[in-house]
């Protein structure tokens, strides 16, 4: 089932229409070129030697035998990567400390996780490169390791970084700690609030780190020339960001590196960072030949970023009538080997859907001996939301209230604010809750062994830096170049918005993703920002073309430009005796009457606004095995405006299913030495088609006032409440409290058995 609501203007020609995506034919024929689909003449193959230890001092690295192997052209270690000083406070939501990044791409003093890069070789074949890795001799002094964020935060835990003293605690600590920072936010007085509460619920949770699980491993080719220029082809969510990281890290001029983003085979936040890119550039610089580096799936699991595993504690208090009076949330986020878990997002995610008067949230950013976490679709939000949304359901249960009614009673209103004080404008929360409450799904009956879960999620979208170039060609077609890799159908949305503005046929617009040498800076395709922010830049660029076409028509007609308007793809004037001129006619005239016509826009987009997403999940639990089968799942999302409804639904369905995997199956399994055991898709169990029902979507459109078409962003919110909705459904089915994810069969079976009457055991 797919359902959309439209409460604003509907007279669009292309916005909101279901159209075939422009990148579609190349993707169904195998023509589309992804990270490892590129070959260059004379290309070498790069491979990375990785640490077998979770935590160890590097005493020595001897590469001489590897270098002597026939076919090996270069070997690099940390000595080839410049060192950088530690960055200094203040720290924003995302920390990009070159000190840490240089050590993550190539371990320096210590290895900090199983899979940490230690050396890399470039050879004439992958086979020789693999042989060479075996000839590199690394002497380690193994150190005690720690994997759990709560354990790592204790004073007696093995410390990863001797230079790290916890920020945000009083008095300032004298001993180094794995806790990089503690951040808190809130309002009111929680002690007072809890004292006034008639009923209090307190819950504790543990969640596992989960991998983004993109099907395309990291892959790239770097080619350095003798004059210092570097070409880089890589699969990334932001080639401008990759260029910036490589240039800063390797102390090169930014403009000397030209990055082309390949077609990207999934990212979900996991392709925002550099891993092999700087290493491949160094190998290419040393050899004078292109170097291709492709990660194996095992390397992807061992060395690229999962989302933080967490420990969290939530306390919520309400009056008998259901008014929330106090809420408190604490979360420990695994940062992995280096600081920078999404703590600021976590503290803002706990209770931001509600108007609770007294609220306090705290998050710990904790280093552990695991790969450095990376963004994953609404980073920091699903884990904090899990606790809050399971606690509020328990409150509803104890109050004898319907869980949606309880949320409606406390739902934040237009003009309200998040826990961290982010001000909302017009929001669609009430509409989302109403649609969920009145849905067929919510009213339907459950079968035996089935349970229903409801959960609500909040996410504040990103805006930021975007650049667009639009070129009008002499046949009246328009080439739209953005700097944002298309990860979920953005070319389709850019094309729709450009065609809508110009008032022309869709086929007239040709959207592409241009390389870093061709246009201005664009930030990542991340934060659900592309259709909003880059879309604004597309609209601006096309408007510039329209202005130039009006001027051209005025010149041709020899009338003032004020008398020319642009309507439905034509220049028109109210003056008598002039026939409207089409885009195509004007495009043909342009070169003879002043020159080519183009528009461009470079912006820092603000006002993306908040989105709310609710989900209803029905599961069936097998009481014999503990196996949980999702039976029905409906997503309600305020999209602001769905430019391309097909791809909005795709984002909703994909996000919810990632949440189902997070809730039911996905986890990292380490041995007692801190080595990752499940480094493949067989044992890291992501949802497959036979695990799932159809995923129903309800797109609600409460337009964002800060975008001409009302876009809010849609990529991230569908994941935020999904694990909580599934976990609530499991609790509802078996009547036992869940305390950790994933709710895999052995765990669910234990939960069921723990609740069986003691008589059974006698």
């Amino acid at each position: 089932m797919s359902d959309t609501t439209d409460n604003a203007k509907t007279n669009f020609k292309w916005v909101g229409k279901r159209t075939r995506r422009p990148d579609g034919p190349d993707k169904v024929t195998g023509r589309a070129r992804y990270g490892d689909d590129m070959f260059m003449p004379g290309m070498l193959h790069g491979k990375t030697l990785r640490s077998p230890h979770a935590h160890a001092k590097i005493l020595s690295i001897d590469t001489s035998k590897a270098e002597a192997l026939k076919g090996v052209k270069a070997v690099v270690t940390h000595k080839d990567i410049p060192d950088h000083p530690l960055s200094k406070p203040p720290y924003g939501p995302a920390i990009a400390d070159l000190h840490d990044i240089s050590r993550n791409v190539m371990a320096r003093e210590k290895v900090l996780y199983d899979g940490h890069a230690v050396a890399a070789v470039a050879a004439t074949s992958e086979r020789i490169a693999r042989q060479a890795l075996k000839l590199i001799e690394v002497e380690y002094e193994v150190l005690p390791h720690v994997l759990d964020p709560l354990e790592a935060a204790q004073p007696d835990a093995p410390v990863l970084h001797d230079h790290q003293f916890t920020l945000g605690v009083e008095p300032a600590p004298e001993k180094p700690s794995n806790v990089f920072r503690v951040v808190s936010t809130g309002r009111g007085d929680v002690d007072k609030g809890f004292a006034e509460a008639d009923i209090i619920v307190e819950r504790e949770f543990r969640t596992q780190p989960v991998h983004q699980g993109y099907i395309e491993p990291q892959a790239l080719i770097a080619s350095a020339s003798e004059d210092g220029a570097v070409e880089l082809w890589t699969t990334t969510q932001g080639h401008f960001v990759i260029r910036a990281f490589c240039a800063k890290l390797l102390k090169m001029d930014t403009a000397t590196i030209r990055v082309t983003a390949s077609e990207i085979g999934g990212g979900f936040g996991g392709k925002n960072n550099v891993y092999s890119e700087p290493v491949a550039i160094r190998l290419s610089q040393k050899t004078g030949r292109p170097v291709r580096m492709v990660m194996t799936r095992e390397e992807v699991f061992r060395a690229t970023g999962p989302a933080s595993g967490t420990y969290s504690k939530v306390r919520m208090g309400a009056k008998k009538d259901g008014t929330l009076v106090a809420a408190e949330g604490v979360i420990y986020n695994q940062a992995g080997a280096f600081k920078g878990s999404p703590v600021l997002r976590s503290v803002d995610s706990f209770f931001s859907s509600y108007t609770v008067e007294n609220v306090k949230t705290t998050a710990y950013d904790v280093c552990v001996n695991r790969p450095k976490v990376a963004a994953y679709r609404a980073p920091g939000a699903p884990m904090a939301t899990l606790g809050a949304e399971m606690a509020i359901n328990e409150l509803a249960d104890k109050l004898g209230m319907d869980p949606i009614d309880l949320r409606m009673k406390n739902a934040v209103q237009d003009g309200g604010q998040s826990v961290a004080g982010v001000k909302y404008g017009r929001i669609g929360l009430q509409e989302v809750l109403e649609r969920a409450k009145n849905s067929d799904h919510y009213k339907s009956a459950l079968g035996p062994n089935q349970g229903r879960g409801f959960a609500l999620g909040y996410w504040m979208h990103g805006g930021g830096l975007s650049s667009v170039v639009a070129n009008l060609l002499d046949d009246g077609t328009v080439a739209i170049a953005t700097g944002n890799p298309d990860i979920g159908g953005s070319r389709s949305s850019m094309r729709a918005m450009a065609a809508e503005e110009l008032g022309v046929e869709l086929e007239t617009i040709k959207p592409i993703v241009a390389d870093t040498g061709s246009m201005g800076y664009s930030h990542l395709t991340a934060g659900s920002r592309t259709t909003f922010a880059t879309g604004l830049a597309v609209i601006n660029s096309v408007q510039e073309i329209i202005e130039k076409l009006r001027a051209l028509a005025a010149k041709k007609w020899e009338i003032p430009v004020e008398d020319v308007t642009w309507e439905a793809g034509q220049a028109v004037t109210q003056r008598d005796g002039f026939e409207a001129m089409s885009l195509k006619q004007l495009a043909g005239m342009a070169t003879k009457m002043g020159g080519p016509i183009a528009g461009h826009s470079e912006i820092n987009a603000g006002g993306a606004g908040a989105a709310f997403c609710a989900q209803i999940c029905d599961v069936e639990v097998d009481p014999e095995t503990g196996f949980v089968a999702p039976k029905r799942h409906t997503i309600f999302l305020d999209a602001g405006r769905a430019i391309s409804p097909d791809y909005v639904e795709g984002q909703m369905q994909g996000g919810a299913v990632q949440g189902i995997g997070w809730a039911l199956n996905e986890e990292y399994i380490y041995d007692d030495k801190g080595r990752l055991l499940n480094t493949g898709f067989l044992d890291y169990r992501m949802p497959v088609a036979s695990d799932l029902p159809m995923i129903d979507t309800v797109i609600i459109e409460v337009p964002n006032p800060n975008h001409p078409y009302g876009v809010r962003g849609v990529g991230e919110p569908p994941l935020v409440p999904a694990p909580a909705a599934v976990a609530n459904a499991v609790e509802n089915a078996i009547g036992v409290r869940a305390t950790s994810l994933p709710l895999s069969p052995p765990k669910v079976l234990d939960m069921i058995e723990s609740a069986r009457p003691a008589v059974a055991a006698e």
Partner: protein
């Protein structure tokens, strides 16, 4: 290391290649022949991105050695369209928006094609189990299953 001299039929064309004994069919297709439509997602037979049709059966190209395919008939995504006319499955994947990033799409198309050849009128459950060896992280499978069901219906209609 000596190489094997192999002759196989790929998408109807006779193709000669040499390969090392340890090279998989996936390595051969991608690295030797530069037929990159067949994707490498895991190299261990767990994701299905490299699904091709070998002598009429869908297989993971990463689990078959290049040296094993002498005399074999291989179909890859590059041979799915008839010239410039897309296969009904390719059409339906576009119509139903059954792809996002597209990295898993060639594998799904081949697996679905093999499934529909064996079972032209599958139930939703049969489609889901038929495609259970192919991972997609973007779509949640909903639109893929719909596209395959719709393509099956169209292919049945075209045959009758």
């Amino acid at each position: 290391m000596s190489k094997h001299m192999i002759t196989a039929t790929i998408n109807g064309d006779e193709v000669d290649f040499t390969c090392h004994a340890d090279q998989t069919l996936l390595d051969v297709l991608r690295e030797n022949l530069h037929m990159t439509g067949t994707k490498n997602g895991c190299g261990s037979g767990d994701c299905g991105a490299c699904t091709v049709i070998l002598n009429g059966r869908p297989i993971n190209a990463c689990l078959v050695l290049g040296a094993e395919v002498d005399g074999a008939d291989i179909e890859t995504v590059e041979g799915m369209a008839k010239g410039t006319e897309l296969h009904p499955l390719q059409q339906k994947f576009l119509d139903h928006a059954a792809l996002q990033c597209g990295i898993c799409t060639p594998g799904f198309l081949n697996m679905a094609k093999a499934l529909l050849e064996k079972n032209p009128d599958p139930t939703e459950t049969e489609v889901r189990f038929g495609l259970a060896g192919n991972l997609c992280r973007c779509t949640g499978y909903d639109k893929i299953v719909r596209a395959v069901m719709d393509a099956a219906a169209e292919m049945r209609a075209n045959q009758s």
